[in-house]
Structures are given as structure tokens and as C-alpha cells.
């Protein structure tokens, strides 16, 4: 874990209530998420790393509460205190040949960094994303350019398959004439979506949990959840857990 000041290089609306925040600073950020200090708020806010390269990294966030609403007002050039090197992320090496990535809403963000890693390792990557409606869609073009297969579902049917991610997976299989090919799946999104995905998809996989955090670094035990292996800290032992560990 490290604490550093980063400079806002970009902070702009990219979808309904959704902002893309690019922070620049020294080195390459590692870890599954960063913990951001927002001026005027006591606790930091955890945000998944969507993309990371030397000297800069990208986050996506939705203005859901007071903290993120203030974050959205910060101009380029503002400095933010950031804790980095946090969380146990997706295990790209768990996949042998082909991966299925299933994201809901902003759950797409950490899956993008994972997809890049999987492609770097020469694996086949199929991505299915679900959103409520068209104006909430993020990262669709980025995933399309990067991955071997891509499908979208929207609840209102405005874009892609009408329904849930599971409907899009079914339709994808129908069009191909065979089940979607994967030996390992990864999912991130609303709890109810990940539960359905973990129950519907066969084979091994993992899901990224979300919880209100205190320290974000594993020492306050504020985000401990019960798992099949006993209490686990979402911030430190996770946020990514194997599907069989998670007690829905």
C-alpha cells in the first residue's frame, strides 16, 4: 500500500451520471482498486481500476452519493490523495484458454483491465455487458476492439438483447449454434446479477464483491463478509472471490 498525490488529467461525463476520471502521477498503479480522498469527506472512496499504464490510470464512477457528486465537480489539475496497491483482483492465470467476462453497469470497469491482461496472455476473451438503458453504456467500443466476442444486453431493449446478461449469453449461444466457449468466467456488477451469473454458468469462475469500506487496507475489519471459508475482508482478501466461496 502506498499513499500518493495524483493530478486529475480528465474528469468528464461519459454516460448517464457516469464519469471517467484519469489521474496522473508517478509510476504504474497496481492493485484492484484505489482509495480516493474527496475534499470535505472523512472516509475515502474505493474505486476499481479500469485501466492503468505508466504514469496514469483510469477510473469510472457514478454520482450516487454526496461524495461522488463532489468528486464530479473537481476540475482538471486538482490534486487528490490516493491509496494504491489495494485488494486482491481477478486471477487471469486461472483461465487456461478462453475466458467469459460478464459485467453489469460499472462492473464493466475492472473487467476491462482484466480483459487486457487476458489478451496479453494470449487467451480468447468473450465479453457480455448488461446495462439498464442505452445512455448508461460504457466501454462498449473499447471491449469490442479488444475482445474476440462481445454482446450487450439492456433491460429496456434500447440496445442489444432485451433483458439480462444471461439472456445475452443465451442468444450468443443460439446464434453460434453452440454454448459460449470458456473454461473460466469472471463477473462484476450488482450482487443480484453476479449471483444469477454464478448460478447459471457452469464451471469455475470468480466474482468481485462490493462493500462499504473503512480503511480499504484490511486492518479495520469494517467490510468483512461471511464466506464458505469464514469471515473475509472484501478490501484485502477480496474484492474478488471464487464463486464457491461466496455465500449469496
Amino acid at each position: 500500500m502506498e499513499k500518493q498525490l495524483y493530478t486529475i488529467a480528465e474528469n468528464r461525463l461519459v454516460a448517464a451520471d457516469t464519469y471517467r476520471l484519469v489521474l496522473s502521477g508517478k509510476g504504474k498503479v497496481d492493485g484492484e482498486f484505489v482509495h480516493l480522498e474527496i475534499p470535505g469527506f472523512y472516509l475515502r472512496r474505493p474505486l476499481s481500476v479500469c485501466d492503468s499504464e505508466e504514469g496514469r490510470f483510469t477510473l469510472l464512477y457514478k454520482t450516487v452519493g454526496e461524495g461522488t457528486r463532489v468528486l464530479a465537480t473537481l476540475p482538471e489539475g486538482s490534486r487528490l490523495s490516493v491509496l494504491t496497491g489495494l485488494g486482491k483482483g481477478f486471477d487471469a492465470s486461472a483461465c487456461s484458454h478462453s475466458a467469459l467476462l460478464v459485467g453489469g453497469g460499472l462492473g464493466a470497469a475492472p473487467l476491462y483491465l482484466l480483459a487486457k491482461e487476458l489478451k496479453k496472455q494470449g487467451k480468447k476473451v468473450t465479453v457480455v455487458l448488461g446495462f439498464n438503458k442505452a445512455d448508461e453504456i460504457v466501454l462498449a467500443n473499447e471491449f469490442k476492439a479488444l475482445c474476440d466476442g462481445f454482446a450487450l444486453a439492456t433491460l429496456d431493449g434500447s440496445v442489444g438483447v432485451k433483458g439480462f446478461v444471461t439472456d445475452a449469453i443465451r442468444e450468443m449461444a443460439g446464434q453460434a449454434g453452440h454454448d459460449v466457449e470458456y473454461d473460466y468466467f469472471y463477473t462484476c456488477g450488482p450482487m443480484i446479477m453476479m449471483k444469477v451469473v454464478c448460478q447459471a454458468l457452469e464451471g469455475p469462475g470468480e466474482a468481485s464483491l462490493e462493500e462499504r469500506m473503512g480503511c480499504g487496507a484490511g486492518f479495520c475489519y469494517g467490510c468483512s463478509v461471511q464466506t464458505a471459508n469464514g469471515p473475509r475482508r472484501v478490501c484485502k482478501d477480496g474484492p474478488v472471490f471464487k464463486k464457491e466461496e461466496i455465500l449469496w
Binding site: M1, R44, S81, G214, A217, Y221, C223, S224, V225
Partner: protein, 304 residues
């Protein structure tokens, strides 16, 4: 600018007065990779009970103005894991003062856990938590009545023949001095105050409490003046040393707590927003002392 930062707590010498508070620093081990723990005057470990506890359901954490609420509910692996595994592992990498924080749901449980802590070589001081607001039928129930506080103190004092016993007090009382005096009269070697203030937040969109436990302990910068007042009152009413705790976030806060009467100062919630708070405060202390013309930090204790 060589400054003497050391303080003496019941015969234990601390290299400086800064101690991360129980529950805000895990078992120390969690932060061992982030900075050298040996800069810390002491470490108060996460509260331990007889049996392992998961604690309260999530959400356990909520934002609040100038602070935060927590309702962790004493998640811990149990006293046996503490004395057999956590403390020996920490002792290997940390040479300062290790404070075991003990909680319980009955006088007998406090006594049993304290006896085990007293027999554990790596522990320097035992801190008895009679002030946890987040568990039912225990914790704070013993800390809100002078008679009950005295009963726990007396019981644990009997089984702690090797180590100083500090009682950690709740601020959720009408007269904290009465509780403090009852603990002192029952044989406490020192007092830690204050624990968190019982609070609550509501998610107004969902019309439900944010915390699964409904209520939680309020801590952070906002409580500093109240904690300081209580430290001042207790330190001036009792003869035994006080560890001041509550909203401490800077070197100046440490000095202020000490002037009010604290011999050592615990840093709590600030660790959660800044895991490097304690080393940063310790590093800043000599400069603040220089500004204020303080050569030896011990000189300022209870000078107000």
C-alpha cells in the same frame, strides 16, 4: 533539535506517546508492510473475546460529518489465537509496547481472557474494554455504571499479577468521572478514554439505517473537543495515568491531549482515512515541540 519524546506508562517506557487505538490498526501485522511499526510508541490491538466472533452484519461503516460511524461488533479470532499467534508474530517485528485489548460479555469472560493475556509474554499492558457500543449484553453495559465497572476492574485485577491493567471508558455516560473513580478505587493501574460515541445515520433514499446494526460508534475529528474535556476531567480527578483517545489527528492534537492530562495518546479513526497517520504525527512532533518551546514531552502532561 533533539527532543525527548519518551513517556512512562506504569513503568513501561514508550519511545513516544503515540499509540494506534484498538480496532483501528488490526493486530499490527496488517500494516507491517506499509511502514516500520517500530516508530510507534505502542500498539493497542484489536479487541479480543473468549470465543472467535464474526461481529455484526455489513454495512458496518458510515460516513459522518468530521468523522465516521462503525459497528464492527468485535470481530476477532478469540483470545487463544491472540496470545498464541497474533502477539508472538507481532513481537518478532515490533519492540515497542504491545497493548492487548480485552472485551467480554460477563465478568467471568473478562477474567478468563485477562488471565490469558497476563500470562502472554509479548503483551506489556492489558486494556479492558468496558465501552464497546456495538455489542449487546456486554461491552458498554459494564462501562456505564460505576458498580459494574468496579466489579469488572476488581475481577481482572485479581488475575493480572504481571501486567498493568488499563480500563477503557465509554463517553456515553452522564458522569465519566464517577466511572473513572470507581475503576481507580477497584485497582485499575490506568484509564483509556474515550471509546466511541453512540450514533446513527439514515439512508434517506432507502428510508433505512445505513448500518445493519442500526447504531454505531461515532469517532473522528468531530469528537476531539469532547474527548479532550473528558480526559481533562478524569486526569484531574484521578491519580492513575490516562491514555487520551478521541479524534486525535495531528501532532498538535497529541500535545493538546497531553496538556489536558494524557500520558500517552491514542490515534483511532484517523488511521482509517490515513493509514500513515501515526508515523506522520510522530514525525511532526519534534517540529511542533520546537515551535512551542517544549524540550521534553513529559513536561507538558497535565499542565493545564
Amino acid at each position: 533539535m533533539v527532543k525527548d519524546l519518551s513517556v512512562n506508562l506504569c513503568g513501561k517506557s514508550l519511545r513516544n506517546p503515540v499509540v494506534p487505538a484498538s480496532g483501528t490498526f488490526g493486530f499490527g501485522l496488517e500494516l507491517a508492510d506499509s511502514f516500520d511499526l517500530n516508530v510507534l510508541g505502542g500498539i493497542s490491538l484489536k479487541g479480543s473475546t473468549r470465543e472467535a466472533r464474526y461481529g455484526n452484519p455489513v454495512p458496518r461503516i458510515a460516513e459522518a460529518p468530521g468523522g465516521m460511524l462503525n459497528a464492527v461488533g468485535l470481530q476477532n479470532p478469540g483470545i487463544d489465537v491472540l496470545v498464541n499467534s497474533k502477539v508472538p508474530a507481532l513481537r518478532k517485528i515490533y519492540s515497542g509496547c504491545i497493548i492487548a485489548n480485552i472485551s467480554g460479555f460477563s465478568v467471568e469472560e473478562y477474567r478468563e481472557c485477562c488471565a490469558k493475556a497476563d500470562a502472554c509474554e509479548g503483551i506489556d499492558i492489558i486494556e479492558v474494554n468496558i465501552s464497546c457500543p456495538n455489542v449487546h449484553n456486554g461491552g458498554m453495559a459494564f462501562g456505564t455504571h460505576p458498580d459494574a465497572a468496579a466489579e469488572v476492574t476488581k475481577a481482572v485485577r485479581e488475575v493480572c499479577s504481571h501486567k498493568p491493567v488499563f480500563i477503557k471508558l465509554s463517553p456515553n455516560v452522564t458522569d465519566i468521572v464517577a466511572i473513572a473513580r470507581a475503576c481507580e478505587d477497584a485497582g485499575a493501574d490506568g484509564l483509556t478514554l474515550v471509546n466511541t460515541f453512540l450514533g446513527m445515520r439514515i439512508d434517506i433514499a432507502r428510508r433505512k439505517p445505513i448500518l445493519a446494526n442500526t447504531t454505531g460508534g461515532y469517532s473522528g475529528a468531530a469528537i476531539f473537543p469532547i474527548a479532550l474535556r473528558m480526559v481533562y476531567q478524569v486526569a484531574h480527578a484521578c491519580q492513575i495515568p490516562v491514555m487520551g483517545c478521541g479524534g486525535v489527528a495531528s501532532a498538535r492534537d497529541v500535545l493538546e491531549m497531553m496538556m489536558a492530562g494524557a500520558t500517552a495518546v491514542q490515534v483511532g479513526a484517523e488511521n482509517l482515512r490515513n493509514p500513515f497517520a501515526c508515523p506522520e504525527i510522530i514525525e511532526a512532533l519534534p517540529l511542533e515541540m520546537e515551535r512551542l518551546g517544549i524540550q521534553d514531552i513529559k513536561e507538558i502532561i497535565k499542565t493545564v
